[in-house]
Symmetry: C2
């Protein structure tokens, strides 16, 4: 009986995902882009991570800035960069992707342009929506976070990190685009390296920031579709073009 | 002696403006756009305007939504729409522009694409930067406001209003663009009619919203350059393009 109940639940989930996928396809069908439905995860990071601890120490002037390779003992190793959990894992940069896939079950998508469809935007903060994106021979981590910077006023923060070094990150530009209800919002920037803290990028507000009211204007039935594109860096040369 | 002091002050102001104009031209020279230096004005609107009063009444369920033509006695007349002052003036929509120019000394600029250079971004909230923009046979009012929605956390809100009716406004799309430090932020929307309240557009957050940290990243020496473009409306047809 339990088996049948579980099967029925799984079928319902599949129908729900299929419906959301259809909705997203309807919105972005003209571009023929890959749509990825991303479910939220409540942040379990209640204990401070090494990164946060390093940051706190930095603020007290006792440690250098928050770069993982300056914090860990072996400079060849990086700690787990998953922003959801305080995970004791550490390893070489080359195996971060497989760790994130296998241990934290973060999906990876191929393609230069994809649509990230974050579901259940109404869930209370802190909540994260995370996916990996593989293109141009590299892997990127997209983080959408709902967080209360000002108590009682949750905001949404979206940023993209390269799973690579800061100098590799400088070769790329990422674009996040929201488009609905006769409104369009575009954010373009150089991705940060995953060796920097995603927490500090978000607390600095150096990313796409949405108030709840604007997020609602861009959402459809509780889901927020973000168009993502990655290109090799051209921001330097186009700075004066506007 | 006083005359010479005043002359010297005026010359210093001119040099300062010329320098800011040069800086803006340096940033946007490639596009050959018109750069307009806009100085801030502290909001003197401490007394509630008719619009705010109408809104308060609406919230209590006693009056229809905040449209000036529903609030004034003569439906042919609109009150002063200047967001800076509670001004007792009212007149026909056709003479709003000359009232704003003559009484409130708001500049008007010609051209489909201009650069709005707001100076002294560090001034405390509430502060407004306002200009009129004439193009495609209509006049638009650009309002940039620094306001504390959450106490102690000022934000910047930028929106464009058509000095015309809501149905006329639906024919246009405006774009605001910030571009600096390898970051680019674009907001595109249909302008609201000046018959609606600029205050409610800003309090709804249905406009370009910048946290102080992001505004600092886009500013150069305390000035924020916003590229403005107005086109006839195409948002409907491009909604699925992304």
């Amino acid at each position: 009986m339990l088996f049948f109940t579980q099967c029925f639940g799984a079928v319902l989930d599949l129908i729900h995902l299929r419906f959301q996928h259809y909705k997203a396809k309807r919105v972005f069908s003209a571009a023929g882009q890959l749509v990825c439905v991303v479910n939220p995860t409540h942040s379990l990071k209640y204990a401070p991570t090494r990164c946060a601890a390093a940051q706190a120490s930095t603020e007290q002037g006792t440690l250098p800035p928050c770069h993982h390779h300056e914090v860990v003992h072996d400079p060849q190793l990086v700690p787990c960069t998953c922003p959801l959990f305080s995970c004791p894992w550490e390893g070489h940069l080359e195996v971060v992707v497989s760790h994130l896939r296998q241990t934290h079950r973060i999906n990876i998508l191929q393609g230069a342009e994809i649509v990230f469809l974050a579901t259940d935007m109404h869930l209370p903060a802190p909540t994260d929506w995370i996916i990996m994106h593989s293109c141009l021979g590299h892997q990127f981590l997209l983080v959408l976070r709902k967080q209360e910077k000002y108590e009682g006023h949750p905001q949404f923060f979206a940023t993209m990190m390269l799973i690579g070094t800061p100098s590799q990150a400088n070769n790329f530009t990422y674009r996040l685009e929201l488009n609905r209800n006769q409104r369009r919002l575009k954010w373009e920037a150089t991705p940060r390296s995953i060796l920097e803290c995603v927490d500090s990028v978000i607390s600095d507000g150096d990313c796409l920031v949405l108030n709840t009211s604007l997020a609602q204007l861009f959402s459809d039935n509780g889901s927020l579709a973000i168009g993502i594109a990655i290109t090799t860096s051209k921001v330097h040369s186009t700075e004066a073009e506007m």
